[in-house]
């Protein structure tokens, strides 16, 4: 009788262990899928931001080209100058906003710092250096400043 109970307990324990193992495996698989999905989501965010940055950079380039062409043709009267200056400043702001958004995502760990540091470290430094008037105390581009400080120190 005791032997039968021990065998029964053993079998139940085996079944219990198998169920627990099976459940743990399922949970593990689900975590794996969740991690993979999260990576894909991060990648989508980055690609979206990079697409935005690229299109805004092109627009900024076009604005600069318009200024240079007008200057080259001696066509910069007061009205044209004002139009081109506004266009140039608007496209610059748009580009810096996109870069600031990328830096925000890195700063808040939505995307991996180490994955983007190599590609963007010099870009961020050069942008701040060239447009330092936009990165003063009252600058709206705090995320760019924070990431630059972090990247240049490490």
């Amino acid at each position: 009788m005791t032997f039968n109970m021990d065998v029964g307990t053993f079998i139940i324990a085996i079944i219990g262990a198998w169920i627990a193992y099976s459940q743990l495996r399922k949970i593990n698989d689900q975590i794996g899928i969740a991690v993979k999905n999260q990576k894909m989501d991060s990648l989508k965010i980055v690609l979206e931001i990079e697409t935005q940055m690229n299109s805004r950079k092109l627009e900024f380039d076009k604005a600069a080209k318009s200024v240079r062409e007008a200057d080259n043709k001696d066509a910069l009267d007061e009205d044209t100058l004002e139009i081109l200056r506004d266009y140039f400043n608007a496209t610059k702001e748009s580009y810096l906003n996109a870069l600031d958004r990328l830096c925000y995502c890195i700063e808040k760990d939505y995307i991996s710092d180490k994955d983007w540091r190599t590609e963007y470290r010099n870009l961020v430094r050069d942008i701040i250096s060239e447009y330092e008037e936009d990165f003063g105390e009252a600058s709206p581009y705090n995320n760019i400043k924070k990431i630059n400080k972090k990247w240049q120190q490490s």
Binding site: E50, K57, F60, D61, A63, A64, K65, V67, R68, D71, L76, L81, L84, R85, F88, K92, K114, D115, R117, T118, E119, Y120, R121, N122, L123, D126, I127, E130, W151, Q152, S154
Partner: protein, 83 residues
């Protein structure tokens, strides 16, 4: 050379160079950057040391932005001069 044998910055640079030649050459640029960074991040490097040890870094975005910076800087100079 293995990663365990890396003791100096020059070793690290050589190690990465060998990796590139033997394993990474045909990978997409993004993958090479990630592989390199995965190794470089294990060491405490200054930005200069990082750049030195990773001479193969293909900073495509950076190069592209440099041209934008040159172009827009010239335009900015015109606008400032004509203010």
């Amino acid at each position: 050379m293995t990663l365990n044998n890396v003791t100096t910055l020059e070793d690290l640079r050589e190690y990465l160079s060998e990796k590139f030649e033997s394993e990474w050459k045909d990978l997409p640029v993004e993958d090479i950057l990630k592989e390199q960074d995965g190794i470089l991040s294990r060491f405490e490097l200054s930005s200069e040391e990082y750049d030195y040890a990773a001479p193969l870094t293909a900073v495509m975005e950076d190069q592209s932005a440099k041209k934008t910076i040159i172009n827009t800087s010239k335009a900015k100079a015109i606008l400032v001069k004509r203010k």
